[in-house]
Amino acid sequence: MAGRRAARPPSLPLLAALEPPPPAPLPSAGPAPTARGRRFLVLEGPGVGARAVWALRFSPLVGRRGPDGLIVETTGLPEPEPELLARVLAAFARAGTPARGMLGAAPAALAALLRAGHGSAVLAPAQEAAAVSALPTAALDLPEEVVAGLHRLGLREVAALEAQPRGPLARRFGPALLAELAALRGALGPFTPVRPPPCHVAAQDFPAPLLTAPAIARALERLLASLCAGLEEAGVGARALRLTAFRGDGTWQEIGQGLGRASRDPAHLMDLLRRRIETLRPEFGFERMMLAAPATEPLAPAQSGLPGEAVAQEALSALLDRLGQRLELWRPLPRASHWPERALARGDAHGPGAPFAPAPRPLRLLRRPVPLEAVALLPDAPPSLLRRGRRTERVVRAEGPERIEPEWWRAGPEPPPRDYYRVELASGARWWVCRRGAPGDADTRWFLHGYLS
């Protein structure tokens, strides 16, 4: 990249343009680098951008810079910066994507230094300022014609560029140049993290990679304990959990688990996650596990020892969480419709329920009504014989008909009207049967639609 930019000024001899000039050595670190403010690590290397999620093992805030670059915020990480940089670079090399990294305060300046060909380094603030001043303008993140224009004006270094009055520069080259100059000196541009950083994270490194399910479960228990302690301190409960397990080879696996009701009970959360452990494939082992609560909700401390509504509510949501992992569950909710199957809606099992008004309706409404053959004395009389499969049932009593007309205000083809009868068979069984189609229609059919008590 440096070669392409260096070839641009027409005044340069051809051979000199083909060979990128070696970057000037970085200024010396000076005494005791004291870094304040936000710190970033910019990584560059072929294919590094694809490792963004995996790089979350180093810091919760990671963003992509195109396909070959990453930006990792390292503010507040406990490790000393040189060790951190060495560890990150070693991990990337082991994962098969060697990268160069520059750790400092202004991501734009770090990226420009890497582009200029500098090797990996940790920059103290003074060192960074001096290095930026010495940067060639060709290394800046600017459109090619702007760089060519700067070179025509003889502005080959950032220091020379910064010495110019800003107004004419902006008029001539547009606002992008000023924005880049500000970014070089630490103005932070917008930066989209690959995952929004959760407020509550617990993570642990494992010097000996975890291979077995019991070991993973034990590690998970420790993570949960520390996560729940943090949640309790903040007065919130987790509505979702995300476990990310990082393997040494640059891949990762994730388990997501939602909760019906905010919780910070380690035993309950462990119960939910324990069943999912078997879905993880450690292969060569997990080197780091990170448990995050990406969604939280305020949760008042529960008063224990008073059995009552609140306790039952909590136990119910814990039960529904467990059942919901394996099975489909819902609450029946009423819907304003007189069409029998439409009068019932499926609601969230965790949500509130609603009462139903009693009606002369069956206890079970068959999802697939059973076709019947009926014999009636008159076309519009209740049936006197019903044949279901090979069995013939004599009807001794019948109530009806209850005519239910289709809801014409709905879109779509209109189904035929139905005449419902409540019939009692000779055996005593009570059925809710219906004739589809008005009596006398060409195509009327009988169905068993439900069982009455």
Partner: protein, 248 residues
């Protein structure tokens, strides 16, 4: 030469000895009728008087057989509604391969669908697991399990789970199946009957023939019963003569 003759316990002590033995048996058989503190659901005065618990015991498993799905489900729904009334604030679980409960009809038996949760469990193993989890939870008043009968071990597990949670478990099975040994506290067979005031064009209230096939620590029995929807009570006017003829 004096031989120690085991002296028989004084006549005064005999009552105390019997009480002690009874207490020991009750401790061994935790589901016995003597267990203290076992609350019971009221059904009807006649049924309550017949059952050794003075009603249908809570914290237990009950089997309901019936060849007609409507009447047996009606009885089960009535028990669920009673459990709901006895344990306010708790919910009901309806576990079936295809849960097609229709709350407008269930409301006629007093069941409040606002606290009804339907669970679709196509596989029997999942259904049993869900029933056990539900019964163990203190948030559940009743669990209704439709489908094939669990084996003895599974039924025993459900009974133990119900004792932990305090709700009732109802196994609703097709009566045509052979009713083998069971771990349930009671086993019922429900058959539909015509109502008292039924006419050719009026079905009347739900009416059933209720047979108690087995009750742990109790006798079998049979009754004709009718659900009085207006009053919300179960009326059992006459015990049937054939009580106990039919073996479970």
């Amino acid at each position: 030469m004096t031989e120690p003759v085991p002296s028989p316990p004084p006549a005064m002590d005999r009552a105390g000895l019997l009480a002690g033995l009874r207490a020991r048996i009750a401790r061994l058989d935790r589901s016995g009728p003597d267990m203290q503190g076992r609350a019971a659901l009221p059904l009807s005065p006649e049924l309550d008087a017949h059952l050794p618990w003075g009603g249908l015991p809570l914290a237990g498993l009950h089997e309901i057989l019936g060849e007609d799905p409507g009447s047996s489900l009606g009885f089960a729904a009535l028990l669920m509604a009673r459990a709901q009334a006895a344990l306010p604030g708790r919910s009901l679980l309806w576990i079936a391969p295809e849960p097609d409960a229709y709350p407008p009809g269930l409301a006629g038996l007093g069941l409040d669908a606002a606290r009804l949760i339907l669970v679709r469990a196509p596989r029997a193993a999942d259904a049993l697991w869900a029933a056990e989890e539900g019964l163990r939870s203190p948030a559940i008043a009743a669990v209704l399990l439709l489908g094939p009968a669990p084996d003895l071990t599974a039924a025993r597990r459900l009974q133990l789970a119900a004792e932990t949670g305090g709700g009732i478990g109802l196994l609703l099975r097709d009566g045509a199946e052979e009713a083998g040994p069971g771990a349930a506290l009671t086993r019922w067979r429900i058959a539909p009957r015509p109502a008292q005031e039924a006419t050719a064009h009026h079905l009347g209230d739900p009416a059933w023939e209720i047979r108690l096939l087995r009750a742990r620590g109790g006798r079998p029995g049979a009754w004709l019963a009718e659900w009085d929807a207006a009053q919300g009570r179960l009326v059992t006017p006459a015990p049937l003569a054939a009580a106990g003829r039919r073996r479970a």
